[in-house]
């Protein structure tokens, strides 16, 4: 983007803009609805820019706006119906053709698309955006324990989906990790 004065708290926005677009896409499960959410979020960010503090995380601030725009709008209901099928296709369409393990990635895309909204949003923030539990809790306005339990359920659902599709391994790895004694 064009040069902007260094005093702006919103300079070098490209990475955060990409984060907003990715997150909106995971929420909306639809590219054009996601674009609307991002635009509304940018408008809101413009309106509220004075409330952003330099010491806070700009990305968290922007993603929480995306989140609020999504949950307060009609798009949430639209997303429910779109989520499962088309979204997974959208994600895999953009993989480079030479990407190996295409099938495995397509599987991951399908199980991600099939997650309930509350699990998908938190998994997106932590796994894709690399946020800490604390940052994700702030974006979602929920306690950190809720973040952790939703993540745990999301991961369990994705493993289950994944295991159902495994055909070669005779013995599935134990999913229990507490008190594992397999080597003793």
């Amino acid at each position: 983007m064009a040069e902007s004065p260094p005093d702006s708290l919103f300079h070098d926005l490209d990475d955060d803009l990409s984060s907003m677009r990715r997150y909106a896409r995971s929420l909306c499960a639809d590219a054009s609805a996601a674009d609307d959410v991002v635009q509304d979020s940018l408008l809101k960010a413009l309106e509220r820019r004075d409330s952003f503090r330099a010491q806070g995380s700009r990305k968290s601030w922007l993603l929480s706006i995306v989140h609020n725009v999504f949950v307060s709008g009609l798009r949430r209901r639209q997303a429910e119906s779109l989520r499962d099928q088309r979204f997974a296709e959208t994600l895999t369409q953009q993989l480079p053709a030479e990407q190996e393990q295409q099938a495995r990635l397509a599987e991951i895309a399908r199980s991600f698309a099939g997650l309930p909204e509350l699990q998908r949003e938190v998994l997106h923030l932590v796994a894709i955006e690399g946020m800490s539990y604390q940052q994700a809790a702030e974006v979602l306005s929920v306690p950190i324990g809720t973040v952790m339990s939703r993540l745990s359920r999301a991961r369990a659902a994705m493993r289950k989906h994944n295991d159902n599709d495994e055909h070669d391994d005779a013995q599935p790895a134990s999913l229990r990790i507490v008190g594992g004694r397999d080597e003793e």
């Binding site: 983007m1 064009a2 635009q39 940018l42 309106e47 990635l105 991951i108 998994l123 134990s174």
Partner: protein
């Protein structure tokens, strides 16, 4: 292996999510190095995470509208009040948290939120050189085309922008006006029966207030800066004027 304590579920999950400090990470890795089956599960969980990242690397091309707004956000904050035209004050005014937005969403009819966002967009348009306003307004023509009746405006008000846009049940109309007191307001109208009362009610969202009412199957909203009471009073005047 007396001290070979398995990591807790929390530590294990936190490991996958990259949330552990070096000491706890080491403890998990040290344990898993002796437990291949659990280690394989960990690799599988890590590959889910990496796979998700791979799936999200590519994004569709940036739309022009989004790019323009992002560009705008990167500009330094415009000087407030002194140099800003009133419309910009409206567009960039402080907005209360979305909690406030959501709490009042429960009561007013759904179209009120659309009225508010259209108002803000209109105020933004007014500040963008590349977006030409269309101040021509012909109530008769609008009525013929949309079945939305938009009676005459009070004397001294002038129209600064007129926008028609698609709405779930037809078309919505937004007229941005400037009052005799030089206040920037917008009137939103949609041909839709709603729970809006015949006499205007008003709510506040941040710096803006929205009065909403309905008449003859058309739902209206008047949006502008200021206290709900003031917007409500203006809406009452409009509604009364239109009835007479």
């Amino acid at each position: 292996m007396k001290n070979d304590q398995a990591p807790s579920t929390i530590d294990y999950e936190a490991y996958v999510d990259g949330q552990l400090d070096a000491a706890r990470r080491f403890a998990v890795e040290d344990h898993l190095s002796r437990h291949p089956q659990q280690a394989a599960q960990l690799m599988s969980d890590l590959s889910l995470r990496t796979g998700l990242q791979l799936l999200h690397v590519a994004l569709p091309p940036l739309s022009a509208g989004t790019a323009a707004l992002a560009q705008r956000l990167q500009q330094p904050s415009p000087p407030r009040r002194r140099l800003m035209p009133a419309a910009m004050v409206a567009a960039f005014g402080l907005v209360a948290s979305s909690l406030v937005l959501m709490s009042w969403l429960r009561s007013p009819p759904a179209y009120v939120i659309d009225a508010l966002s259209s108002h803000r967009t209109a105020m933004l348009r007014a500040t963008l050189a590349s977006q030409l306003e269309s101040p021509g307004f012909d109530a008769e023509e609008i009525l013929r085309a949309t079945q939305i009746s938009m009676p005459a405006l009070p004397e001294g008000w002038h129209v600064t922008d007129v926008q028609l846009f698609p709405y779930p049940k037809g078309l919505a109309l937004l007229i941005a006006v400037r009052t005799t007191g030089n206040q920037a307001l917008s009137i939103f109208a949609v041909r839709e029966r709603s729970s809006a009362p015949a006499r205007p009610d008003a709510v506040r969202e941040g710096r803006q207030s929205i009065a909403y009412w309905s008449e003859n199957g058309v739902s209206y909203a008047l949006t502008g800066d200021g206290e709900p009471a003031a917007i409500d009073a203006t809406a009452e005047t409009l509604a009364a004027l239109w009835k007479s």
